[in-house]
């Protein structure tokens, strides 16, 4: 995380705190107020994260504005200069874009993989640049990986769980520790048996089809890092498919996207994936054919 960005968010929060205390009409981008806010650094409580900065100068309903802003991570209540965004808001956007670009080039933390006993295979992606240009290579596990999967994994499992970095390694680091245990609990609660899980480096969603051919699971669950956004560069998706094979089409897959603390909470997501797997096994289908 960019330290200056954290600082800026912190400053925003402090300014709101000040505003609540002193009831000032509006907050300005005046550098003087920033220096004031820095002095009260120690006075801000740790749960200040829900506080929001009010930029609209004379809103029709002041309290209402805070309510609106808190209801969504979208950049609203941002005000304007003429028809253009305010300077700080525009720069904040650019900072977030910089952070998102950085997360594409990260690596998944090895400790997390070993904590959940995930061995690693690679696709034919080669390197990040090639990964971006050649999604077809991210859909095929290397010959060495195929061999490893054959040796290590139980074939024909009821449920096969696979994890992949996809477009955001950070997403796996941030969400797997919560999603994975709750998914296992949920599967167990439904009396379902999971096969041998593993990690795929450089994977694309359709790598499910190749793995489906290799292991022939009834349901395959792929937990994969999403393309990073600005609000969440750590968002994960779960793709589920009943009997994935070569030639499976997109609409046969069921997806739960936006798994991160600000979206679908990771623990809930894990439990929900279990429920979906159960339904897929019952209905023997997935994707748009699945009746939810």
């Amino acid at each position: 995380m960019n330290p200056s960005l954290e600082l800026e968010q912190f400053v925003d929060r402090v300014m709101v705190e000040l505003e609540r205390k002193f009831g000032s009409d509006t907050l300005t981008d005046d550098p003087k107020s920033e220096s004031v806010s820095m002095e009260v650094k120690g006075a801000v409580s740790a749960n200040a994260s829900t506080l929001t900065t009010i930029k609209v100068p004379k809103p029709k309903w002041q309290e209402g504005l805070a309510e609106l802003i808190e209801s969504t991570p979208a950049r609203i209540g941002v005000w304007r200069t003429g028809t253009r965004p305010l300077t700080k808001e525009m720069l904040k956007f650019r900072c977030d874009h910089a952070a998102a670009i950085d997360s594409i080039y990260g690596e998944v933390n090895e400790q997390i993989l070993s904590r959940f006993d995930l061995f690693t295979v690679e696709t034919r992606y080669g390197n990040t640049e090639n990964y971006l240009k050649r999604p077809d290579m991210g859909r095929i596990v290397t010959a060495a990986g195929e061999e490893l999967i054959r040796v290590k994994c139980r074939s024909h499992p009821q449920v096969q769980v696979v994890v992949s970095d996809g477009l955001s390694a950070n997403a796996i680091d941030a969400n797997l520790p919560d999603v994975y245990p709750s998914l296992l609990d949920s599967l167990e609660a439904y009396g379902l048996r999971a096969g041998t899980p593993f990690f795929v480096r450089g994977g694309r969603v359709a790598v499910m089809d190749h793995i489906g051919e290799l292991l022939e699971p009834d349901v395959l669950v792929l937990l994969i890092g999403e393309r990073p956004g600005l609000v969440s560069s750590r968002s994960m998706s779960a793709y589920l498919c009943y009997r994935p094979r070569k030639g499976t089409v997109e609409s046969d897959r069921t997806v739960i996207s936006n798994i991160h603390p600000g979206g679908t909470p990771p623990v809930e997501a894990g439990a929900y994936i279990g429920t979906l797997v159960h339904k897929m096994l019952e209905q023997k289908t997935s994707g748009i054919h699945l009746d939810l």
Binding site: Q62, A74, W79, R80, P85, A100, V249, S251, G262, I288
Partner: protein, 453 residues
Amino acid sequence: MNLTTTVLGQTYQLKSMKEVLAKANEEKSGDQLAGIAAEDAKERMAAKLILSDLTLADIRNNPLLPPEKDEVSRVIENAINEKIYGEIRNWSVAELREYVLRQDTGNDQIRRISKGLTSEMVAACTKLMSNLDLVQAAAKVEVVTHCNISIGQRGVLSGRAQPNHPTDNIQGIKASLFEALSYGIGDAVIGINPVIDSADSVKSILLATKEVMEKWSIPTQNCVLAHIKTQMKAIRQGAPADMVFQSLAGTEDGNRAFGIDVALLDEADELIAREGTGTGPNLWYFETGQGSELSAEAHYGIDQVTLEARCYGLARKYKPFIVNTVVGFIGPEYLYDSKQVIRAGLEDHFMGKMQQIPMGVDVCYTNHMKADQNDMDNLAVLLAAAGVNYIIGAPMADDCMLNYQSTSYHDIATLRETMRLRPAPEFERWLNRMGLMDNGRLTPLAGDPTLFM
């Protein structure tokens, strides 16, 4: 049909119409990924030269994907007006380009020949046009459509309010919608991409948007961009949908990957006419984007510009209210950088307008593409000059659900002021009544979302 030419001393012999069309494209990572792009700039020019001398009849007589094998081809083929085609069948592609650009060729003339053109002919012409050609020619075409209100008039730039939320939280969706309305955005549609593709979720979002529209008497239309089957289920359960939405591909197999076919679209078409809440006659919203067929491995070796044109050929059957290419969404494997995205945005807009499609553009990029917000500023200005019907409005251009960046509420307001464009007339009258706009300019009240609480 001559497929041979000489460029700078080197002779090129291409094998098929498919190869000529693919290699005549401007450079795109998607054509390279498919293995069908020109090897180098010289070969690209050879293909363009060959293409410029081919006739429209050559294109029709050498189908890339025969109608017997593909229903999208059948839809396009069935729509041709044979009399008008007969008048232009011997034109070369070069002559088609020059006809479109002539000063005495206006909206009516283009509208007329469009009835005799296939999507492939439009795509062929596009490959011979520069970016400014694409801007000027598209600007001649006016496609006005009506759902609850009319949009698309000359001088009008509409905006889709896209108040998405990462958990479909209704309060959050409304909050972002209020912000959009306070900037004068939402005349094209209030359109939400849901996270949860279920009938219940679709219904609750449709109800919530409808409630806001009714409470403030907002002259616009609502839509939830779930899968068509989910929307149909919601509508049958009584959800108030003014329009139905679906993503389209340019081949039957591509559409199958989206879980649709022409029969299903026909069924939805009947349903929205009978049970939708929109006035019509235009009750569809389609999205497209170069690369989706290749992504679904359903491209048949056809280039992505031609396939994109075919999406519009299919869309035309359903007389849509709005259509937009989501130009930079599909990823760098299809459009690598800002140069390619800008080119594709102009191509798609032109190809849609040439087929009488009420064309908007989601001017956008993802974070793994070599592009940034400045590039979107550029493309938005170009499209505004080209007379685009609408662009997308997301809060500060950042869609917190789909995780990509588009254009913002601020951007649409800025383009209107800078390019002397206005919201749709009925919507502008409403903005005037609300005190948000005066003489086409935002008032000091604009930008306060609490006006709608």
